[in-house]
Subunit: 387 residues, 2 copies
Amino acid sequence: MFANRVDQIQPFRVMEVLERAAYHEALGRRVVHLEVGEPDFETAAPIVAAGQQALREGKTKYTPATGIPELRRAIVGHYKKMGVTVNEEQIVVTSGASGGLTLLAALLLNPGDELLITDPGYPCNEVFTRLAGGVPVTMAVNANQKFQPTAAGVEMHWQQRTKGVLLASPANPTGTMLAADTLEEIARSVRQRGGFFILDEIYQGLTIEAPYQTGLQISQDLYVLNSFSKFFGMTGWRLGWLVVPQPAIEAITKLAQNLFISPSTPAQYAALAAFTPAAMAIHDARAATFVARAELLAQGLLKLGFSIPVRPEGAFYLYVDVSHTGLAARDFCWRLLDEFQVATTPGEDFGQHMHERFVRFAYTTDEASIQVGLQRIEQALQAWGVV
Amino acid sequence: MFANRVDQIQPFRVMEVLERAAYHEALGRRVVHLEVGEPDFETAAPIVAAGQQALREGKTKYTPATGIPELRRAIVGHYKKMGVTVNEEQIVVTSGASGGLTLLAALLLNPGDELLITDPGYPCNEVFTRLAGGVPVTMAVNANQKFQPTAAGVEMHWQQRTKGVLLASPANPTGTMLAADTLEEIARSVRQRGGFFILDEIYQGLTIEAPYQTGLQISQDLYVLNSFSKFFGMTGWRLGWLVVPQPAIEAITKLAQNLFISPSTPAQYAALAAFTPAAMAIHDARAATFVARAELLAQGLLKLGFSIPVRPEGAFYLYVDVSHTGLAARDFCWRLLDEFQVATTPGEDFGQHMHERFVRFAYTTDEASIQVGLQRIEQALQAWGVV
């Protein structure tokens, strides 16, 4: 009845988690939320103020499809601070990173073309691939490689119909970054094969001792995916951007005109304030908060006997091996929520590879709540006879 | 190098028109804009105020993928006033009608599936079809059928791989509506074939003696595409909605979660005010303004010898036969702009069928400007020896 891609979409377990959490909250119980992939902070005041001003000034009409020139220039300036020169035409402002993925799938994939992605990884990548009729091919990645592929791994998976690779650094659900030399090797290998390399950097800035700030410091022919959602705290505004190689500008502009008309106008004017010193100070402080939370949560979980095979270098997730509990990840998540009201996301939402062992803990809640969560997890382990 | 669909996209001539208009304006010349498919009004004050309030209240996080319940309920109420009962689950709030078209293409089209559309028609429909790997099949529609297909025409074009039909009522670029009995016949015919019927109603409310307010008054199993851009004057906010048949709810919800996460949060809260009596009074007054402009522009063009084979029943366009000028539509547009600074859109932006004869005049500018435009067109015809 519907297109085949519909049946190929895995349901998000986290949606059931959210519903069940809401059920407990409706009964008056406090739920500790460690499942949500959204910063708990509201959008920083200078950005909100800029949004309000834009509305006062009647900035409610369409803009150019690839974004207002001022914002594209501000993004160029953002890269300049990292020592990277891109020009304004390479910047495509999008309706969230989601809009960017639609554009890249439309630009790069014919029906039947294969795209290499990681397992575990961001689950929607498969759906964007299938949107364009493409075929997602997963590369299982392991803790001993920081849940990132090697160049040899990419080459091994590269077949006749493979057109490109999509990697994330830092990645969801693991928070790990692709090492600089691996990134360079993969870029070289993909270039030799005439393929494309999409690098998802939507967690840029939310990093802990990052080996680089952007992959563009290492390779210039990447398609870079970015977002105002995470570091800049603008999730609900739906705004992101792409940096595309020079030869792609004309084609992606045509696609953006046809598929989006333009990104949100109030959001674009608001985002102009995101790069101001006042806003950046807020974002940097928040990034530091995430680092502290990561430490708190990781130490607490380790103390309780959990294994965190790779410490994240960014984002706001810990990918935690729960096998010492004797429970499969899904049962662990469900019982922890239902019996102790701590919400987490089971590994199966991020792929098939060893998902029974892993649970994603998001530290998108304050330290006091994380403490409560840790206490409840300790109680859970005692109740279940694990400790 | 890029996906095949990129080469299949026709460039918008109107982009060249806009660039050339900007060139003249940069030289200090006044351009009369009859090319723009966007209302000249700013978003109504109650909506802007609601958007500002949403920002003050920190409404900047993700919402449910299909929209906030309050807005879905408000849309249900909008249909209730038309005597149509739809339930909240059937409403999918989208990132503009563009987002709606992406979702419908993803839901309904496998690679190779054919979708019937009209020529002339909204040019981006082809691109959304190709986004999902589908094949747009155009049905030439003529003035003697009000530029709308008949049921027999749809049946004639329906082949082995045809999965559905996408029609617009009122349509762009002609402003004509599908007659009620034709709509019913096509719906029946499509149902018998097990196909789907998408009805684009993004110009709903901007009508002149409409035979119906929504196709849902005639057939319940339509996929209805709508938008806050036109009647509600919210172009730059990027917000629209779908009404989908009950069986499609689960599948389209999954797609919306994966492909969009959620529509713009500030826009959704702003749009809640769009249905209030205060805002509706403004929208209705604007709709009346468009009716008056249509009359002014049509009378003026007819007096100058142009032929308007079908008077529009809605939207804000006249599709005008310029053949008495002896110029092909493209040359007419270019010379009118370059020599007399009146901007219009040539028929080729809307398809291949008789496009050399037709030009779209959009009355998205005030009456005084329309008067100036008409005077300049008269001068042009004199200068070119037509009158």
